[in-house]
Each structure stands twice: as structure tokens, then as C-alpha cells.
């Protein structure tokens, strides 16, 4: 008998995924663990292994398609003898199908939602009679419904977190916050068409000439959502200064080869990681998050630093763990490794979570001053610009660089974007100066514990 394999909820609030690759064809025999699909979720690219031994009867999705959690990806027939558990599962699925048949007249979208709701109910195993009734409507309190109306959120399109899938006020608020990024783009476009068109129509952009409509990738939409949340939530302030990195540049050139041999790359970023980790010890309020519920400041005892990586998919910010406990060689190797993985789309969602602070260095592309957005819920981000100024040739061997002649200055633009709810301008200036001192006097950095 054919069974259905659905896109499982991978947690972490992921609702949909884009099919990057289909690794099997209809008729293929697979064993448990074989890769069936590669998909890109809001957070990362992941491979979906087969949880069964069997034959693929039907593929229900194609490459490039966006699928929702709970959507059927393929139908298969098991080869192995079934255990009793799976047969009871089948029974549940049969019932699902029966229900689906009854509601066959409904439009597809609605049916999907009901399936989701049914699933929720199965999961919750709620005993509430009210919730067991097959209801085409979402359950919600009058106060929640009023909130949904006020925020312009469609209750039917929200996944309820309450008992039996009931939509709570917090679900409505969350939906209102990420309505743009979480909605199915096709559906969104449809809705916009109904209400007179999408952005192109909304601003009459196509009145002025030909336009092209591009649906952003899941990653792009996730970036948009996260940036919007950060920008709306955090009162951003920028502090910028120049830091003299002449000696650091010399040190970098001098030891570049040795690091390269070990698979690392000695860059300003590596030094900056070390300097930030040390400065965070002196200024722990920059290694923090504001708890929106209690208003408390959460000070983090760990030091994980996010690194902004420019990839084909867009900006990704993988996190290097325990920066304060690693030496420059380890940091430089890990930086190369994690940046490669980011560019190749091999990051796991966890790789991009749990940062203390983030570091962005567009210096290589050319930048003097810019205003980076904080990687919320962190409370600060460090930006590095392009180093300006020339280095003198190495001083004569018999003349120490810093004894008689002034070394040539090299200026690194250093930017601190900070959450003004947590820190003030003076705090940021002190924090920046500490980082600057360490970068200017690399020996301090190396001698620090």
C-alpha cells in the first residue's frame, strides 16, 4: 500500500522550504538514510534522508518548487515488514484522507490549512470537546479576533499555538510581524492581484515602462524579515572612529605565510575577532540581549561572534563559538572553514544562532563609513572599513620601528552599531576605544590572557 511522505516540521519556526534538488526518481528503491531531497529553508540548506526502506511510487514535487510543512513530497511503498506502530499510523492517515474527501469541494488552500489544523489536533491530543469538532474555522477568543482585525491579519492563515490549535493573541502579533516574509509568495501575489496588484501595481511602477517581477528566495525573504525586525525593534546608533593599524598590518604581512601553511588566512578580521572578544570581557553590556518579556538584560557568559559572509544566496551570518578561548591560528582556520561552508550553502540553522555580537567587514570591497544593522537579538555589531594609507618599507634592521622614526600610519575605519536601549554613546565610545587600542597595539592583544 502506498504511503505518503510529507515535509516534516524541522522546528525553529520554519514553515516552508524550497526544493533545491530531487535525488530520486519514480520507481527507485531506497533504503533508510538515503537522501531524497535537498531543500533550502528560511535558515539553511538541509538534506532530507529517507525514513523508510521502500520504492518511490510517485514524486509530488519538482526542483525549484516551494513546499509547506506538511505537504506531501512523495508516495512510497514499504518493502520491510511493518511494525504495529506504523499500522496504527496508517489508520490515522486513512482518517485524514476520509476527511479530505469530505471537504473535497473546498479550494486547495483551505484544505491544506485544515490538514494542518487536524495534524495540530492529533499532536495536541486535546480532550476538549469543542476542539474535537471538525471545524472549518480557526478557534480564537473574541479579544484575539479583535486584535487580528486591528492588525489586518487573517486569522485563518495563522498557525495557532493554543490547545487544539487555537489561535492566541501572541500568534496574531507574530503573524503581523512577519506577514510579509512567511506567507506563501504565490498566495501573496494572488491576494495582491485581488486587491489591485502587487508592489508594481501599488506604486503604478508598470505605468512608466516594462517591469519584471522577481520572487525572492527563502533566504532573501528571511534576511528581509530579520532586518525589518531588527530595524523596527532596536533604536540603532552608530559610533565611528579611525584606528591606527600600522603595526597590525606589518604583523599581518610578516606572519601571513605561516598562517597560510596551516590552512588559515591572517586578516584584519581575525585580529578583530580577538580584539572584540577581549573588549567584551571589559564591557559585558555589549555581550547581551534584552528580554522583551521581562525587560531584563541577559548578559552572556559565552563569547560567540557572528561573521557576516557575502554569499550567492545573500548575507549569511555564521557564528564562531568561544572566540575568547581560541588562539589566532585556530580563529583564522575556522574563519576560512565557516566562510567556505556558508558560500557552499552547507550551514546548519544552529550554525547561525546564539551569537554574542556580530562582525562585518566589507573593507575588501571598499568602504569608509556605513551603518550596519544589528543582528537582533544581539545588541551591537562591529563594522570594519577599508584600511587607508601606505606602509613604509620595512625599517633598516639596525633601526627598531618604534624607537626613532615614527611609523607610517594606517587608518582602519571602525564602526560600532549599538542598541541605545542597552548602551549609551559614551559606553560605545569606550568599547570602540578598547577595540581600537588592542588593534593599534597588537602586543597588548597577544599578551592579554
Amino acid at each position: 500500500m502506498s504511503e505518503q511522505f510529507r515535509l516534516q516540521d524541522p522546528g525553529e519556526g520554519i514553515h516552508e522550504a524550497e526544493i533545491l534538488e530531487v535525488h530520486v526518481s519514480e520507481g527507485d528503491e531506497v533504503t533508510e538514510g538515503d537522501e531524497l531531497f535537498s531543500v533550502e529553508t528560511d535558515k539553511a540548506a538541509v538534506d532530507i534522508p529517507s525514513p523508510f526502506d521502500g520504492t518511490i511510487d510517485e514524486l509530488c514535487v519538482t526542483k525549484g518548487q516551494t513546499v509547506q510543512v506538511g505537504d506531501v513530497l512523495l508516495a512510497y511503498t514499504r518493502t520491510a515488514a511493518r511494525d504495529p506502530q506504523s499500522s496504527s499510523e496508517d489508520k490515522g492517515k486513512e482518517e485524514d484522507k476520509e476527511e479530505g474527501k469530505d471537504k473535497g469541494k473546498d479550494e486547495g488552500k483551505k484544505k491544506e490549512e485544515e490538514k494542518e489544523q487536524d495534524k495540530e489536533q492529533d499532536k495536541e491530543q486535546d480532550k476538549d470537546v469543542e476542539d474535537e469538532l471538525p471545524s472549518p474555522k480557526k478557534a480564537a477568543s473574541p479579544a484575539t479576533r479583535r486584535l487580528a482585525r486591528e492588525l489586518g491579519v487573517e486569522l485563518e492563515e495563522i498557525r495557532g499555538s493554543g490547545p487544539g490549535g487555537r489561535v492566541e493573541s501572541k500568534d496574531v502579533r507574530r503573524a503581523a510581524e512577519d506577514s510579509s516574509s512567511n506567507a506563501d509568495p504565490a498566495q501573496q501575489e494572488g491576494e495582491q492581484a485581488e486587491s489591485g496588484g502587487g508592489a508594481a501595481h501599488a506604486f503604478d511602477l508598470d505605468d512608466w515602462g516594462e517591469v519584471e517581477m522577481v520572487t525572492p528566495s527563502a533566504t532573501r525573504r528571511k534576511i528581509a524579515e530579520r532586518m525589518e525586525t531588527a530595524w523596527r525593534t532596536v533604536p540603532h546608533v552608530m559610533h565611528a572612529d579611525y584606528v591606527d593599524v600600522a603595526r597590525l598590518e606589518k604583523l599581518k604581512h610578516k606572519h601571513a605565510e605561516r598562517f597560510r601553511e596551516q590552512g588559515g588566512k591572517l586578516t584584519i578580521t581575525v585580529f578583530a575577532l580577538r580584539a572584540i572578544a577581549l573588549a567584551l570581557k571589559d564591557y559585558p553590556r555589549f555581550n547581551a540581549s534584552l528580554d522583551p518579556e521581562s525587560g531584563n538584560l541577559v548578559l552572556k557568559r559565552y563569547c560567540h561572534i557572528g561573521i557576516a559572509i557575502d554569499t550567492r544566496q545573500g548575507l549569511l551570518v555564521p557564528v564562531i563559538r568561544d572566540v575568547d578561548k581560541k588562539n589566532l591560528t585556530e580563529l583564522s582556520c575556522e574563519l576560512v572553514e565557516i566562510a567556505d561552508r556558508a558560500r557552499e550553502g552547507r550551514l546548519k540553522p544552529r550554525d547561525m544562532q546564539g551569537g554574542s555580537i556580530s562582525l562585518t567587514n566589507p573593507g575588501a570591497l571598499g568602504a569608509t563609513f556605513f551603518t550596519p544593522i544589528i543582528n537582533y537579538p544581539e545588541v551591537a555589531i562591529v563594522g570594519l572599513g577599508t584600511v587607508r594609507g601606505e606602509l613604509e618599507p620595512e625599517p633598516e634592521p639596525d633601526r627598531e620601528a618604534d624607537s626613532e622614526c615614527m611609523p607610517q600610519r594606517c587608518w582602519l575605519p571602525l564602526i560600532i552599531g549599538f542598541d541605545h536601549r542597552v548602551n549609551d554613546g559614551a559606553d560605545a565610545a569606550r568599547f570602540a576605544r578598547r577595540i581600537g587600542q588592542l588593534l593599534t597595539n597588537p602586543e597588548d592583544m597577544l599578551l592579554a590572557a
Binding site: S141, P142, A143, T144, R145, R146, G162, P163, S169
Partner: protein
């Protein structure tokens, strides 16, 4: 002044009314020589004489019928029915005459009478002594129905009832007669029918009650705050008719979680009217369905099972936590 129990507070209100207004009369079964079965009218006959405070035959219909006649001719009778369960004998006089005469005469005959009646459970008494049938009266147009929950409010509400131009049913929770004492101020106070009171402010849930159920309701609010950090606003309705809908609407809009507690049977009970009021006035602020914590739809049990029938603080706490979908920690 002094700390009085409810019996003494009502006695004080009657004495003040008799002193203040010569047209006030007090009568009923055993209210004169005997001073009332609960001693509520103790000493009044001695102070005001048997022309103004007197005993009647055991005939409730006669008592109310007499009061209706007196009120129509400008007196202010305050009569007592010994227990609310005996008021059905007088129901025809109450419903068909007291409640209607002012309307029927297009205002020519005023009807400023007060019918006092002890009622309610918890006194280990018999069925006709213990039942809660306040909605019979609250449902009747032309009547006002008020129920005090403490000595001080009893004294002020009785003053308000006696001054009211309409017939007022003044129901006395006999469980509270001697339950506790309360400071009653020297100067007279007056609470007219139709005003509720917020006894305790809170944000998380609203508990609405009246009469004898105020005690377990307040107790439950204390437990919820102490053990669960849930802050309940507690409302004493005081007047079932007219109902203070503004007070109910404001509080329910504030908290969004409402439970009503009464010992009257649940079906068609006062709780239903409160729910309907919230529905009409503050529906879009509701976070959860309104709970009714009420007596069961049975004749109130005799005293061996009476406790199981009456809502108590434990039941209220349980229901409020269920409403808020909070699981109470053991111990």
C-alpha cells in the same frame, strides 16, 4: 462607631430609618415583641412603640398585601418575611401588585416598600431556609433586588432601599448574619440600588459575586495572588436589579477573564445575566469564555451535603486556573 455584625448593622439601619422618617413602619412575623427570629429587630418595639413596630399573623400574603396598601397611601413599610422560602405565599402580592401598582396607576400610587427576607445556604438549615431564588425577583420588572455582603454595606444598602421610591427586595444572606464584624461609621451611609463595588483591584481576572459568596470569592482571590501571582479584581454586585452594567463592562474589558460566583442554581441564574451583559458590552475584550461558578441545578441539599453544593474558595481557585489554562503546582 463600633464593630458590628450584620444583624446589628441592619438593626441600626432600621433604627435610623424609624428615627429619620415617621412614615417608616417595621412589621412581620415575630419582629415585635420577640425582636425577630434572628434578633434583627431587637429593641425596636420598645424604642418606637407598637404602632410602628408590630407582629403580624403567620400569613406572608397578608404581610405584603398590607405593605402594598400602606405604600400606596404614602407610608414606607419595611416588612420582614421570615425566610425567602416563605415568600412564595406572598408572590402574588409581590409580582402582581407591589411590582406593578406604580406603573398601573401611571405614577399616582407610589410603592416605596421594602421586603426583607433572610436567604441562602451554609446555615445548616432546611430547604426553604437555605435556597437562593433571587432571580425570581430580579427577573420581575418593577422590583429592585439588592443583597449585601457585609455589615457596613447592609446598613447603607438598607437605607438606600428604604429611601427608594420603588419596591425593593432586600435579601439578607443569613450565613453572614453573625459571620464577622466590621467597622460601621457613625454617620449614616446610603447606597442606592444599582451600584456595584470593586472590593479588590486586579488585572489578570475579574471575579464577580455578591452576598455570602463574597467571602469565598475574596478568599480565592487571596490564594490566587499569594500562590499563583494572579491578581483578581473582585466585584461585589450588591444589586442584581438594576445591575451595574458599567462596572461589569469596565472590569471585564480590563482583564478579559471573568468568572461569576453565586450559590443560586446555575441555569438561568444571575451568572447568565452577567455573561449576557459582558457579551453586549465588552465582548471584544474577552480572552476566554466566561466561567460560571454556581450552585447546581438541584434543590439545595440538607446540611449533610450542603458544603458540596455551595461554591467554596477551593472550587473558585480551581475554576479560575482552568479558565486561565494554568496548572496549579501541587503542594
Amino acid at each position: 462607631m463600633a464593630e458590628l455584625n450584620m444583624v446589628e448593622a441592619i438593626n441600626l439601619a432600621l433604627r435610623e430609618a424609624l428615627q429619620e422618617d415617621d412614615s417608616v413602619l417595621v412589621f412581620g412575623e415575630d419582629v415585635g415583641v420577640d425582636g425577630g427570629v434572628f434578633r434583627v429587630t431587637d429593641g425596636l418595639i420598645e424604642e418606637f412603640g407598637e404602632d410602628r413596630v408590630f407582629d403580624t399573623p403567620l400569613a406572608e400574603s397578608l404581610i405584603v398585601g398590607t405593605a402594598v396598601g400602606m405604600a400606596a397611601y404614602g407610608l414606607k413599610p419595611v416588612c420582614e418575611l421570615q425566610f425567602s422560602g416563605f415568600s412564595y405565599e406572598a408572590f402574588h402580592q409581590i409580582e402582581s401588585h407591589a411590582a406593578r401598582l406604580r406603573w398601573r396607576s401611571q405614577g399616582r400610587y407610589p410603592m416605596p416598600l421594602v421586603i426583607r427576607m433572610p436567604y441562602g445556604g451554609g446555615g445548616r438549615a432546611l430547604e426553604h431556609h437555605s435556597e437562593s431564588r433571587e432571580v425570581y425577583f430580579a427577573h420581575t420588572p418593577g422590583l429592585k433586588t439588592v443583597i449585601p455582603s457585609s455589615p457596613r454595606s447592609a446598613r447603607a444598602m438598607l437605607a438606600g432601599a428604604i429611601r427608594d421610591p420603588d419596591p425593593v427586595i432586600f435579601m439578607e444572606p443569613k450565613r453572614l448574619y453573625r459571620a464577622f464584624r466590621e467597622e460601621v461609621p457613625e454617620e449614616p451611609e446610603c447606597i442606592p440600588p444599582g451600584t456595584a463595588a470593586v472590593l479588590r483591584p486586579g488585572e489578570d481576572a475579574t471575579l464577580v459575586s455578591y452576598g455570602a459568596m463574597m467571602q469565598p470569592t475574596l478568599e480565592a482571590a487571596g490564594v490566587l495572588e499569594a500562590e499563583c501571582d494572579i491578581h483578581c479584581e473582585v466585584i461585589d454586585l450588591r444589586s442584581l436589579s438594576p445591575l451595574d452594567t458599567d462596572c461589569i463592562a469596565a472590569s471585564s474589558a480590563k482583564t478579559g477573564h471573568i468568572a461569576i460566583v453565586h450559590e443560586a442554581p446555575k441555569t438561568y441564574g444571575p451568572g447568565a445575566e452577567v455573561v449576557a451583559t459582558i457579551n453586549e458590552r465588552s465582548f471584544y475584550y474577552l480572552k476566554k469564555p466566561v466561567r460560571r461558578i454556581a450552585g447546581f441545578d438541584v434543590i439545595i441539599p440538607l446540611f449533610a451535603r450542603e458544603k458540596a453544593y455551595l461554591p467554596d474558595s477551593e472550587r473558585i481557585v480551581h475554576e479560575v486556573l482552568a479558565m486561565l489554562e494554568i496548572e496549579k503546582k501541587e503542594g
